[in-house]
Symmetry: C2
Subunit: 330 residues, 2 copies
């Protein structure tokens, strides 16, 4: 094993010890779709997504450090916000979360309910990074980036450690990619333990920057945040650390893309066949599998289904559409 992999595997193992009392070892579930297909439903984590793995590792590391900051700050309207709020409360540090003012009120309320201070006034998609730096400077708070942070990446990588322990013969591990925190953590853990495991990323066609970065070997940056039903992967590019893992170290085997229709259909299939209430982003790996777009592997495929914090209205519409579709087919 290279020094690079050895270093990161050691960090991921340390993360696992650090967070094990706070996050769940989600089960590995067989499916009725294919005997060689398994899912790891991270929607069963506290706050409903895998994001607690990285958030707890980052916050507990900060608390262990010689000079812990007086608090943490992040900008997020999604799963990172709630995960960070819970981790900060647990670690006994204040958390300030900046949420753009047009965000879903339920997510704002959810983040506040977990004890975080939330600021929405005057926060827009355009000014959010600047406002984040100002808030961090004003208060001396540490910024916890949702994906381009080694502590977050090492925390995220603990899911792949569990997969290898739960199914030693795993042949492929399939994850959604947005900023790439989960992808790089998974690739580091899987390749360090079992170089033959294929690590495959799935992203929306509408947000295909990671696929472009993977094939061109140059960082592709979208001009604006993409519009996709998979609202958890709307970052304009992968992080620098993910670029390093994926392109410079070549630890990712494929990046495949799926259409909006395929993501919607996979979300409905997750309900109907897997009995899992996923958000569309969490259904990306299933969309890739259903589309027959995943490269073949030398063992069973594990889909890492990242979260379940769906907008109910969106999901209600998807299921109604699937129900009409089903009647037409019968």
């Amino acid at each position: 094993m290279s020094d690079y992999l050895q270093h990161h595997l050691a960090e991921i193992r340390r993360a696992q010890q650090r967070i094990e009392s706070y996050v769940r070892r989600t089960p590995l579930l067989p499916t009725d779709l294919d005997p060689a297909l398994y899912t790891k439903p991270e929607c069963f984590q506290p706050t409903g997504s895998f994001k607690v793995r990285g958030a707890f590792n980052a916050l507990l590391s900060l608390r262990e450090s010689p000079n812990p900051p007086p608090g943490v700050v992040a900008v997020s309207s999604g799963n990172h916000a709630q995960a960070l709020a819970l981790a900060a409360r647990t670690a006994g540090l204040p958390a300030l979360i900046l949420i753009p003012e047009d965000a879903n009120p339920a997510k704002i309320a959810g983040t506040r309910a977990l004890g975080a201070e939330v600021i929405t006034a005057g926060i827009t998609f355009a000014n959010r990074e600047e406002r984040l730096r100002e808030a961090a400077a004003d208060r001396g708070y540490r910024v916890v980036h949702p994906f381009d942070d080694w502590d977050v990446i090492h925390g995220a990588g603990t899911a792949a450690l569990e997969v290898v322990a739960q199914l030693p013969e795993v042949g492929a591990l399939v994850v959604p990619v947005g900023g790439g925190g989960l992808l790089s953590g998974s690739a580091l853990a899987a390749k360090a333990l079992r170089p033959d495991i294929k690590v495959i990323a799935v992203e929306p066609e509408q947000a295909a920057d990671a696929a472009a970065t993977f094939s061109s070997r140059e960082l592709n940056v979208l001009p604006t945040s993409p519009t996709t039903i998979a609202d958890g992967v709307r970052s304009v590019s992968v992080g620098q650390r993910t670029f390093e893992v994926m392109v410079e170290h070549g630890l990712v085997d494929a990046v495949v893309t799926v259409s909006e229709e395929e993501i919607a259909a996979a979300t409905a299939t997750a309900w109907q066949r897997l009995k899992l209430a996923l958000e569309p982003t969490g259904a990306l790996p299933l969309a890739g599998w259903l589309a027959g777009r995943l490269p073949s592997a030398g063992g069973p495929t594990v889909l890492l289904l990242t979260g379940g914090n769906a907008d109910l209205k969106v999901v209600a519409r998807l299921l109604a559409d699937a129900s009409r579709q089903g009647r037409d087919d019968s």
Copy 2:
């Protein structure tokens, strides 16, 4: 332990050995709702419900018997149909399923896809028992009753064995009740292993025959099949064997009822908070818990969530309603 419990525990353990290669050991999941609340999601079983436990035990027992019948027959429009079709195919016996002609076409197609012969022509709710006896007599097939059958009950009881192994400190086990196969299997297993575990049944107010039977100690039979969103528990009374377990042997601690609104809300809460795609019947235990109607227990509560074969149209409407409700609240 009484001879009665000892006998049934031995049968449930034999069932567990018989079916273990064919059914899944579903996980025990913690929840974000309460640290003392766990779920056992039987929606992750093959065919999407706990019914495979009883169906496989019945079919494999028949195959082991000195004179196996040439086939099996049942009347069902629900989860028993698909479970029996799969178990019969696995056991290598033909299965004939009578499904009333107004049933959901998707369920008919699902049962046929599992290799069963399905007859719908001329089958109505009123004549189905007579048609079942005729079909059994014509072909010499064995009737496999969906709940009033000891093999089915012993198979169903294996879920409670797993719960006690997965969470030895369990204080209460909560299950839906319709005909009572799962309730009696659970009560026999739980009370044999740990007499202090409270065994609690939940049923719709619209179908409150089990509650009436429990309190009056006389078999209550509804005049017609009740109308409830929880379409898996529409039997007009509990079976004779369940009456024996519940009333004569006193192995059930409480039967609580929930309104249609409470069942609908619990189904939406299962999606939103538990990330489980349940059918309304499968959400009955959660409805009882959310309503605060479960008696207190000396340890954590486990909700046995029985199935996930929801009518998508119904669920889409429930989620849309819950989404509007959420916006009104915020």
